[in-house]
């Protein structure tokens, strides 16, 4: 990064896989064979949605809202996709939770016609947003107006590149600006409990707090 942070952003185009499920058994059957791209879309990319729904991925949202299986929805919501090194392990975990539930409650209901689960996947286009920053002050200016998809790319999608433990912003603060506390604060923002605008606000607040502390310590030494 050589000191400069260059914002990228992304656009996703949805592709239908042609697979759908009207009840939990059909969901389980399709989930076992759909592409890794489809599982990726319905879990990681769920966070690209602009509004907060009740649960934290498409499978849990459908189980809760369309099948009214709240207990299953809660269990599926508790799966953090960033805990898994690859999609196949995540797929196994999703299947395991559904299988356990089906053992206890084999008679699940059908969704209303038209409200079936449609398995999709995406093509993602990544491009430079045309915004470069060199220090925290410039970052704080930029973070307020960059596109929400830029936040998704650097803060959420980036977690996959750091095994769920970090994000591009924290890495830059840590490695390029030496701001370890701020980097750590950002790593502890829960990605599943806020929409992208909520995450934007929290990053900006943490950054402003770091500036205030810098100014206070500068004042104390003069």
């Amino acid at each position: 990064m050589s000191g400069v942070f260059e914002f990228k952003q992304c656009v996703t185009i949805i592709k239908a896989t042609g697979k759908k499920a009207k009840n939990l058994s059909e969901l389980r059957t399709a989930l076992a064979v759909v592409s890794e791209g489809s599982i990726f879309h319905h879990t990681y990319q769920y966070l690209l949605k602009g509004h907060i729904l009740e649960y934290t991925n498409d499978f849990s949202q459908w189980a809760g809202a369309s099948l009214e299986e709240s207990a299953l929805a809660e269990q599926l919501s508790n799966i953090d996709p960033y805990d898994f090194g690859n999609i196949e392990t995540l797929r196994k975990e999703l299947l395991q939770v559904i299988d356990d539930y089906l053992k206890r409650f084999p008679e699940t209901r059908d969704a209303m016609p038209g409200d079936e689960f449609f398995f999709n996947e995406t093509i993602t286009l990544v491009f430079q947003a045309g915004v470069r920053v060199r220090n925290l002050a410039e970052f704080l200016m930029a973070i307020k107006y960059i596109d929400a998809s830029s936040l998704y790319y650097h803060f959420l999608d980036a977690r996959r590149r750091f095994e769920g433990k970090s994000n591009d912003f924290s890495q830059w603060f840590d490695e390029e600006l030496g701001k370890k506390d701020l980097a750590e604060k950002l790593r502890f923002i829960d990605p599943f409990m806020h929409n992208l605008e909520g995450i934007r606000t929290r990053i900006a607040t943490a950054g402003e707090e770091a500036v205030r502390q810098d100014m206070e310590s500068a004042g104390a030494t003069t």
Binding site: I13, I14, K15, G18, P113, I123, Y145, A148
Partner: protein
């Protein structure tokens, strides 16, 4: 052209559009449909072609021509794809193909990318010469008559890709299937800001009172739009709240049933002076814009719907919208946030009463609706998506593409 959207459309969309303009340079992009006026497809093409040209892409729009039989057949195909019982004979399919063949002889089909809109011109794929061919389906085909869909699908499977408006319209096909919602143009005559004088002019023109709550449905007079159901809902509301109802629509040259439906609506409205049935000439965009801005609540109570862009149009004007949970309406209305999804005339009446009695809630829903449309349903996003698909198909359909 694209500069006009600065400050209106999301910045990221404009950045990507400019990148595509440079990437595609002078490549040719041909759109073909079956009508130049009436309905959402023609409307969006009127606006999209200049935007593409403004990016430097050599975009063209052609319209296929057909006789009365052709449009009666394609209307029946359309109805069958939306689930109505229709019987399309071999002779009818042969005429469908024959008319397309004769259009193919007259039209210049050479382009780097060709986007064919809806079933009417779908057989043109048989006459493709070069380029990337994409079939764009604007219809709700979630529960089609299978014999009709299976016949049509033989044409669609020959394209490089198919595009549907929402995931649940997609069908099992042999080609790539993309999901792209349609959009509205915030700068068009139908959606631009209007002055108070301009709105008043329209009110005067149609003798619509300004001082009463107004319910509005804008749609062509088609049974699938359920105008009779809207009147039923209005009559239920009238027991509790004073309001007027405006049903406004333009005729479409590819819809022979429109006149019969209009006659039924007029008969059902009878002599109620508070129901205004307005048959507007094509391109009455400013009047529709004014009516939407005058409305207190906008309805789209369709029984079947392709997408129902009138929902996004009304939300762009900060109106709460009540729509049926069909077609693309649920993807536009966030239930309880930007409006309500309803399932019957009774449901529509109940939600109208809720909103008429809670103006603060109606205002808040209207504001959130505008934000939702800005992010998801503006024309710049749709152009971006079409160009993304074209780019993806030219790059072997990889799942991540760095531009």
């Amino acid at each position: 052209m694209i500069d006009a959207y600065k400050g209106v459309s999301p910045k990221g969309d404009l950045v990507l559009l400019r990148k595509f303009g440079k990437l595609f340079g002078k490549k040719t992009f041909l759109h073909i449909n079956s009508t130049r006026e009436g309905g959402g497809v023609a409307e969006i093409l009127h606006r999209m072609i200049p935007i593409l040209q403004g990016l430097g892409i050599d975009a063209r729009w052609e319209v296929i021509k057909g006789d009365g039989d052709f449009f009666s057949i394609t209307k029946e195909i359309h109805n069958a794809l939306q689930g109505n019982e229709e019987f399309i004979t071999q002779e009818m399919w042969a005429h469908h193909l024959e008319v397309n063949k004769s259009n193919a002889e007259k039209l210049d089909l050479e382009a780097d990318a060709v986007l064919i809109h809806d079933p009417q011109p779908a057989p043109l794929i048989n006459f493709a010469k070069k380029g990337t061919w994409i079939w764009r389906c604007h219809i709700d085909v979630s529960n089609p008559r299978h014999d009709v869909w299976n016949y049509l699908k033989e044409y669609c499977n020959r394209y490089h890709a198919a595009v549907f408006s929402v995931a649940r319209f997609s069908q099992s096909m042999r080609v790539n299937e993309f999901i792209i919602p349609p959009s509205i143009d915030p700068l068009s005559e139908k959606n631009r800001e209007l002055s108070q004088e301009e709105v008043s002019e329209t009110a005067k023109k149609f003798n619509i009172p300004f001082d009463r709550s107004m319910l509005l449905q804008v749609s062509r007079f088609d049974r699938f739009k359920d105008p009779i159901g809207v009147i039923k809902a209005y009559r239920m509301v009238k027991k509790y709240n004073d309001c007027i109802l405006v049903l406004a629509g333009s005729p479409a040259t590819d819809d022979p049933e429109g006149e019969a439906v209009l006659a039924d609506v007029r008969e059902y409205a009878a002599d109620d002076p508070d129901i205004f049935v307005l048959l507007l000439p094509a391109f009455s965009d400013k009047e529709i814009n004014a009516l939407q801005r005058m409305a207190t609540i906008v309805l789209q109570k369709s029984i079947k719907e392709g997408f129902g862009l009138t929902v996004s149009e009304a939300m762009w004007k900060e109106k709460p919208v009540l729509g049926s949970a069909v077609g693309g309406i649920p993807s536009q209305i966030m239930h309880g946030v930007t409006g309500f999804l309803v399932h019957s005339p009774e449901g529509a009446a109940f939600r109208v009463r809720q909103l008429l009695n809670n103006p603060d809630m109606a205002k808040r829903m209207g504001e959130l609706g505008k934000e939702h449309v800005k992010t998801n349903f503006l024309i710049t996003r749709q152009v971006r998506d079409y160009l993304s698909i074209w780019y993806a198909l030219e790059h072997k359909n990889r799942s991540v593409l760095e531009l």
